[in-house]
Point group: none
Chain length 233, copies 4
């Protein structure tokens, strides 16, 4: 965890002395900050609360982070570190058909991201992007772009294998992205997406969405070409 790079810029030359839990401090603060920023929003979270939850004093927080804004940036950077490379490799090796692949993909994504604290970052970015264009750009570059690229490759693979229809990938990616995004927001913005978020079973939600995405809700599995509808718009 090379966190030190992120905040210690001016005093890189300082000799390292006592190392009790010094190294752990920034991480604890980032964890606390993520929790609180997601839970209460950035503006509504007081710096002292973050410090308290991390078990340190207010002053210590500002020892590690120049400002509350810098703390937010660090939180985002820390929690979106490129896991995409490993996933990409993993998916490259995957041998099932597209149905299996997308099913595996969405479920594994929920287990590894959606169900974890990291999913709060999405909510956080959505709320604060306007106020922090710099980290929004960073987030787009580090998360959105690789994420969409990954999904495009999966869809392209399906098309190439003749398992998926010929899709305009620029729009088809959102068929996969939108349900995932919505699930995260439902989890973190209780009430404004879903009536009772606690009652929503993520796995069943994913299954339902996959079923629709792959085979449609329609009973017309016969001759009625799916392309017909496009014209009716």
């Amino acid at each position: 965890m090379p966190l030190s790079k992120l905040f210690c810029k001016q005093d890189a030359s300082v000799a390292v002395k006592r190392e009790r839990r010094k190294e752990a401090r920034p991480g604890e603060l980032l964890d606390a900050a993520l929790d609180l920023f997601v839970e209460k929003g950035f503006a509504a979270t007081r710096a002292e609360e973050v410090a308290a939850r991390a078990g340190v004093s207010k002053g210590t927080l500002f020892l590690y982070f120049q400002s509350k804004e810098e703390l937010l940036k660090a939180v985002v950077r820390e929690n979106i570190s490129g896991r995409f490379k490993e996933w990409n490799d993993e998916f490259l090796k995957f041998e099932g058909n597209s149905t299996e692949m997308l099913t595996y993909c969405m479920n594994i994504w929920w287990d590894r991201v959606g169900a974890t604290k990291a999913s709060g970052i999405t909510k956080l970015m959505m709320s604060e992007a306007k106020n922090f264009p710099e980290i929004a750009a960073f987030y787009q570059q580090e998360v959105i772009a690789p994420g969409q690229a990954l999904i495009r490759r999966i869809l392209q693979r399906g098309i190439d294998r003749g398992e998926l229809r010929a899709l305009d990938l620029d729009y088809a990616v959102y068929t996969i992205v939108a349900p995932m995004m919505f699930l995260i927001l439902a989890k973190h913005s209780a009430g404004v997406c879903v009536i009772n978020a606690a009652d929503l079973d993520p796995k069943k939600y994913i299954a339902t969405q996959l079923s629709a995405i792959l085979h449609g809700l329609s009973t017309a599995a016969d001759g009625s070409s799916p392309d017909k509808e496009k014209k009716s718009t």
Copy 2:
């Protein structure tokens, strides 16, 4: 020094000092508030800014709205709550099949809500719900619940007419809701949903989503029952 000078553009010819327009004020303030709340967030918007954009002074705002929070409630009421009844009536009269209905429904929703300023409220609520539980409850009751009920009725109608598969409505509604929500968020949270929001053609997005939702992305329009996949979860 009246701040109004800084913002009023349309009536630069008038000697704008203490115009008395009791009727028009609330509407102007609500418009200004919607713009700013969506643009900067509720907490980050100062009451004085809202007043200035409406071309009045700080004090005038509090003449019409008891508090900043009450102003937000009024914004929600003004832009969403009152419109469900007419939509409901409209959809009840619709005579086409489910494909036509959902297509009509999503497109008309985009034209009347998604493409308008009112769509910013969704984003707004998502960001501020945690901090203003009272408003969140109000929004859930006035917007989320009626909206989902409307979609459930449309899906149920399709099932009853044999046009849609037998669906678990508790989960199927999100097949419709998620893409709509995502489209709004893409519009208002530039960058954190979509790479380049400006390039996303809403109508084409809706068409793609509808095509997927209704008929699936899969080429397997044959014997492969859509129910099979559920087991693979």
Copy 3:
């Protein structure tokens, strides 16, 4: 009631036109102001409340009184107008002994001042004197000084007639003043003088005080000279 003199200074030359209830307005405002200032204090009373209670609009109040402070001054001036001359004459004619005179005096004072709204002025002055030295001086000159002079004459008369002990009038006046003042404050500052102000019967209070003042609480009506105690200080 030559109230006009009090507020109309700059436009005394203006011709008098329509006289509906114009003349009565200032008086109604002063009445309302007295009530509210006494009830809630000067600072806590809003100008609009005064106007509302007088049945006019906020603007009208400022038509008659230059400012809220001027209104207060007018209230005080209006309600302490020299009733002392008539009382003085009345007391000059009184023919009873000192006990009868003081008894009559305190009771009549309660009936004519203490029990009326005018008594609120005392409370008002006490609270606001520091903030309005000008009217405090006015009040002292118009009320305190004549009041004390009156009491001094009554006591002096008693001494001259041999009914009262030889008193140092500079201090003896307060033997009469203090109980009266306390009674008014008990009435207007509920709770901070008396536990339950409503239970205090003014006439019984006055009788008790008079009994003490005139004859003492002590049973030692015998040889123990009242002057003895003075030495023990």
Copy 4:
């Protein structure tokens, strides 16, 4: 620009910047608050003024007291509430007769309360009671009630010992309370009680009042029963 410079006089030699004196702060703030509240009234005193007089900044005040109102409560507690127990004990031990006791009592009260800054609280409560019912209730319970109870016990003791007439204590207490209250008000509401407050010698005032209360102003120390007057009302 630290306002403290404007008020701090005693420590001009110290480079007064950010002195840390957690222990001393509350006391300094309470002293400053008492002074200003008494001098200008509660509502008219700005929180920042209190802080400035205590030599700290606005924020520091709210570090120690949740609100301005809470500060007032603390002022009352600090200066009055806690002292009744010791006084009560002291008076229980007193062995003189009622004349001696009341004389001792009123003089000691003046020395310990009346002559000190604490006496300003009485005036303060009188002015603000209506606007802060919670504080008024607190004051009644903590100060008025115990104070009256103490005086009742003293009078009852005198009656039991045959030194005082059979009194209706519900009214007789005010024979003692009223002069004390008046003396305080004379001191703090200069001009509206007494012509020239500076000329009033408290000790002489108390002696005069005691003399009257105990033995009466009347020369009729003979057979004329003090009860006669009651009928003449």
